[in-house]
Symmetry: none
């Protein structure tokens, strides 16, 4: 089955940026689970001109179109009208839709208003899809080889109707398989260079930068056997070495939590420039409380000394952003909290604070553990937020290499 699929989302709130189009993303992910890819997505407003444009642009390239929104009772709900015009059908009161609306209102002891009655006006040959989760009737219309499904824009109704009426029709015999390799610390262009000479067999390759990590996505057709997929995956992991931190697994923080949980180990952090970001990432993983014992956000020198026990003279001698202070933060925190691992991060996130010797973006990271302390130094480019995110990622990656 290789249906060509397009999605249409409608609503002025999408055009003004007030609402992010999560409906299309949800539908795309659901279609993907069925082995289908929504090759085109379009968004238009509530006006007939926009709806006509979207239907005609989508209808030209797809044989399955899913349209969300514009089925409500108000004057700016015009999807049925636009679809009727696109399909060359008249707009008529659909008795099945009307009786569903009446039943719904009767059950609540309420009258059906003229506005609600309008919702039963559908293209003459529409097939009604029962909506048990709201009052807007959903429907399907066919024109030539193209089928258009119209679903309400309210996410919960849209999802339920998709699952009840569309999903059963979309069963694909041979869905593709996706393998996701997550990497840290190597730029996308360098990853590609490192993989340039590898034999990737029938894998379809994609990259996705999601600061601070880069994901490599491998898509295999349904006929590729499991051992071939594993072989390609192993080849890539071998070539990328340390840069890979998970295959079909979680992000850096959840990989750390998983690894330490299964080893029955714990961690504590002393964060200066990252200021709690690493701790917050770890804590976002359910079950973190068994691993993350405590952290100190030690912006001021006084706090570094008082809360983590860093020698004030050490700070005076080397500066707060230095290898000895990063090491003292990691070791001091590990000792105070009595954890398996201690992490220390100190740096200059900017925009101010940089010097020639220690430019903006300078970061010192240390990880203290049962076998000693490792240290890493980097000058990270980018904005304050980027420096902080990349430093946080680097600290977790350094821990993963150590543990």
């Amino acid at each position: 089955m290789s249906k060509r699929v397009a999605l249409i989302s409608t609503g002025e709130e999408l055009l003004t940026g007030e609402t992010v189009d999560t409906n299309s993303a949800w539908l795309a992910a659901s279609l993907w689970d069925h082995g289908l890819i929504a090759r085109r997505m379009l968004t238009a407003g509530d006006d007939l001109e926009g709806l006509n444009w979207a239907l005609s642009a989508a209808g030209d390239v797809a044989d399955l179109v899913i349209c969300t929104g514009g089925l409500g009772p108000t004057e700016d709900d015009r999807t049925a009208e636009a679809v009727a015009a696109w399909a060359g059908q008249s707009l008529v009161e659909n008795s099945e839709a009307l009786s569903q609306i009446e039943a719904r209102y009767r059950a609540r002891g309420r009258e059906v208003s003229a506005a609600n009655r309008k919702q039963a006006l559908l293209p003459a040959e529409a097939v009604v899809l029962e909506n048990r989760w709201g009052s807007a009737p959903a429907f399907a219309v066919q024109r030539g080889g193209t089928q258009v499904f119209c679903l309400p824009g309210v996410p919960v109704e849209m999802r339920k109707i998709f699952e009840a009426h569309l999903s059963p029709q979309l069963v694909v015999d041979d869905p593709p398989t996706l393998v996701r390799i997550r990497t840290f610390g190597v730029a996308e262009s360098r990853l590609q260079a490192m993989m340039a000479k590898l034999d990737l067999g029938a894998a379809d390759l994609g990259f996705r930068a999601h600061i601070p990590e880069v994901q490599i996505k491998l898509r295999f057709g349904p006929q590729v056997p499991e051992e071939d997929r594993s072989a390609v995956t192993a080849t890539i992991c071998g070539a990328l070495g340390d840069a890979v931190f998970s295959v079909d697994g979680g992000d850096l923080a959840s990989t750390v939590i998983e690894r330490l949980t299964s080893a029955d180990q714990t961690v504590a952090l002393a964060e200066s420039c990252t200021a709690g970001m690493i701790s917050a990432w770890l804590a976002d993983v359910a079950g973190a409380s068994a691993v993350l014992m405590e952290s100190a956000v030690v912006y001021s020198n006084a706090a570094k000394t008082r809360a983590v026990g860093v020698d004030a003279d050490l700070i005076l001698a080397h500066g707060a952003v230095s290898e000895p202070v990063a090491r003292a933060l990691a070791e001091g925190m590990r000792a105070r909290a009595g954890t398996t691992w201690g992490i220390g991060v100190t740096g200059i996130a900017g925009p101010g604070g940089g010097t020639e010797a220690k430019p903006r973006g300078t970061v010192h990271i240390a990880v203290a553990g049962p076998e000693g302390t490792v240290h890493q130094h980097a000058v990270i480019p980018g904005t304050r937020a980027q420096v902080r995110r990349r430093a946080a990622g680097a600290a977790l990656a350094l821990l993963l290499k150590s543990c």
Copy 2:
């Protein structure tokens, strides 16, 4: 000025539903702030066929097209190639783009790879838009009456380039005026109800939920005088009271930093369930280091006692998630760090850990200051991430009410 605007977003990750298209929503909102509406949005994959389709469909209906994504160094980055074909131009190495890439790599002491060099291949008549935030060159191309701007898909780069290069060109003769009232702690539907009977004059009203805050956007036509705008704004602020924390100002964290900086005051935090999130939010504001002295992430009971001095018997008597412990965290942290303000947060973020007496989402927050300690208790609905974000927001809002 009534430019017809279309947005194109590209990337397989959008078509598979892995990524929600926040870039288009951000661009739409920014255009709206300039008095422009993106009448059409289109999404295609990384394939030339899809890109060609999007450019031709958008170019037919718009005189300004903004396209995001597909400018990276890898083989699946094909936007420049597609735009060149659409504009009828050849793809040539752009010396300005190349020298920007070279300068960027040289500054990092790295070689320019063949893949990076490919990023300088642009349509022959492209105008390069300097990208100081990443390596992907952005550019603009004109065909007939239609101008296409191609921006990187990485959100931070896209936003910075939009602000630096597009925003100044989008000056509208009679722009509408936008007033943004930022609120916290009251649901959108309730805000709407509280404002239902207010006289909003000629204001166009919009709401935007951005967890943990809700923004109220007032759009005034160019002919509305300043005093009328102020009067409407004052009416709304009066009706919403404490829920409003800024008018045309920053978010909760930057409002806190601004307020404390101008009062020459400082803050320290003891975070349990929020685990560094509040500190990280504050630290994301440039200049935070003068205000945020230190924080302790105290997940374990032992850490609450050791790092902040909370009496172990108090925790035994009331439990870690309780009013007395929240107060002790705030007061202990304030005393240890010697700051003007101390914040303590303890709660059950879930998914586990809830009991009948203290259900999941239970949060106790305390703010200790020169005139004593205030406390707030809430049971916050939602996922682990939502509970933590809302608790972090509530802590900052409580500080703003106190200081």
